[in-house]
């Protein structure tokens, strides 16, 4: 039985259609990668799944999942600048009623042990991203909705993130990841959804991508129409 089912989900803001009749489902222990150009509707789709945005039509069905079992990362969501890293994490986890067994250990694991008492507002963007990642890996979470999860992370951080995702995916947890990093998605995800102008234009498994196109980047370039006027970049 799928963990989530998206049935004919559409979203309009005024007269502008952001998502149109999106359908897909995700099983336990699977990861789906969402690709598409800027403004394609990837973030809105993730926000619709977690309930921040209400769909105009269609429905999002969470099978046997309660909202507090969903973990999310969005680019436009930050912690509180006036609190230190560790205080922010305590306040955040207490608010959503989640526990990390040893916060100190997690700060060490995510390479933030030296700066845990530093105010969040002086963190670099990479450190902020590490905080985001630390906050979602609480034990109770079952479904992870990640929007550009590795933007700003250094190479070590990206490698650690990939390993961590693969290991907890093997524990039966599910992921929906929107990213432009095709190599990273290729390593983590089992299937891919390509979105353009709010509509799904291709849905393919990892095996299909590798068999037909050799790499995810080639698949993306073949399927998704370019939104950049290449001629303007030619000299």
């Amino acid at each position: 039985m799928p963990v989530i089912q998206i049935k004919n989900v559409s979203k309009r803001f005024g007269t502008k259609s952001i998502l149109s009749a999106i359908n897909f489902s995700l099983n336990r222990g699977e990861a789906v990668g969402i690709l598409g150009p800027n403004g394609a509707g990837k973030t809105t789709l993730l926000k619709t799944i977690c309930g921040l945005v209400k769909p105009t039509d269609g429905e999002v069905i969470l099978n046997g999942l309660s909202p507090d079992e969903i973990a999310t990362i969005f680019e436009d969501q930050r912690f509180l600048g006036h609190l230190s890293g560790i205080k922010n994490m305590r306040v955040f986890l207490n608010s959503i009623d989640q526990r990390l067994i040893s916060l100190e250990k997690h700060f060490e694991q995510f390479g933030l042990a030296q700066s845990k008492h530093v105010k969040y507002k002086v963190y670099s963007s990479g450190m902020k991203k590490r905080m985001d990642l630390m906050s979602i890996f609480a034990p109770k979470k079952q479904l992870f909705l990640l929007d550009e999860p590795t933007n700003g992370l250094d190479i070590d951080g990206m490698i650690a993130f990939n390993q961590h995702v693969i290991s907890i995916k093997n524990e039966g947890k599910s992921f929906v990841i929107a990213s432009h990093h095709t190599l990273e998605l290729e390593k983590i995800c089992d299937s891919f959804l390509m979105i353009h102008s709010g509509a799904v234009i291709a849905e393919m498994s990892k095996a299909e991508v590798l068999q037909e196109f050799n790499s995810l980047e080639t698949a993306y370039r073949s399927v998704v129409p370019t939104s950049i006027n290449q001629k303007l970049f030619q000299r």
Partner: protein, 242 residues
């Protein structure tokens, strides 16, 4: 509830909040020092002195606390923290209730601030007479009216989520109501029962209820007004795209 109050107060306690509250407290003390002549001449902390102190302290309840609440709540939406909580499993209803628990905590803090102001005045001028019953009544009113104004400020902040709009609506309503009362109180006496004016005049002891039955009319105006504002704002907040 204590856990949530602690969380909310941790987020609320910021440098600018402390500055704003101290600024309004200093204003209250200065105004009391200038206006409470009977107390500073004869040492009588009577009805007149309490009227002066309460008239000065009302700005803490109507301006300082709502202002800091609106700035804090809207800041949580601006930097995405509120959305982070909601998308990570905190229900919208729970988020609203957290904020109203903050309002409750601030009501108790307001009472302590009122106590601080009165204690300070008593420390600088020895009292020959102190009306304990008015003092206790004022402490209770501080809690109730702080809750009233804070709940309205929180509701507007949740609904509008932008501090400029929330403050504009809050203060525009406050100013319009004050203008209407000042302009039409002679020709239309019922106008003094407009909610904000009624709350302020009761706190300032200008229309202080004496008997239990005197509380009935203010209660039938203020409680439904506050409940309606809270219900409307939280209802639309639960349905909004965030």
């Amino acid at each position: 509830m204590i856990r949530i109050a602690t969380i909310e107060l941790t987020k609320y306690a910021r440098t600018f909040v402390v500055f704003i509250v101290i600024y309004f407290l200093v204003l209250t003390i200065l105004e009391s020092r200038l206006e409470a002549k009977a107390f500073f001449t004869y040492g009588t902390f009577d009805l007149h002195t309490f009227t002066v102190v309460n008239s000065a302290f009302i700005t803490v309840l109507t301006s300082a606390i709502p202002l800091t609440i609106v700035l804090n709540v809207c800041n949580e939406f601006k930097n995405g923290y509120a959305l982070k909580l909601i998308s990570n499993g905190l229900s919208r209803a729970a988020y609203c209730s957290f904020k109203f628990i903050l309002a409750g905590s601030l009501a108790i803090i307001s009472m302590l601030l009122y106590l601080l102001v009165v204690s300070f005045l008593l420390a600088v001028q020895k009292a020959t007479y102190f009306d304990t019953s008015i003092f206790i009544g004022s402490l209770i009113r501080t809690v109730l009216f702080s809750m009233f104004f804070s709940s309205i400020a929180i509701s507007l902040a949740l609904l509008l989520r932008t501090w400029q709009y929330a403050l504009l609506v809050y203060y525009a309503y406050l100013i319009i109501e004050t203008f209407l009362v000042l302009r039409f109180q002679e020709t239309a006496p019922w106008i003094k029962y407009l909610p904000f004016n009624l709350a302020v005049s009761i706190f300032q002891l200008q229309a202080a209820p004496q008997r239990l039955s005197d509380y009935l009319l203010p209660a039938t105006i203020l409680i439904p007004f506050c409940s309606a504002v809270v219900w409307c704002c939280t209802h639309f907040f639960r349905k909004a795209d965030l």
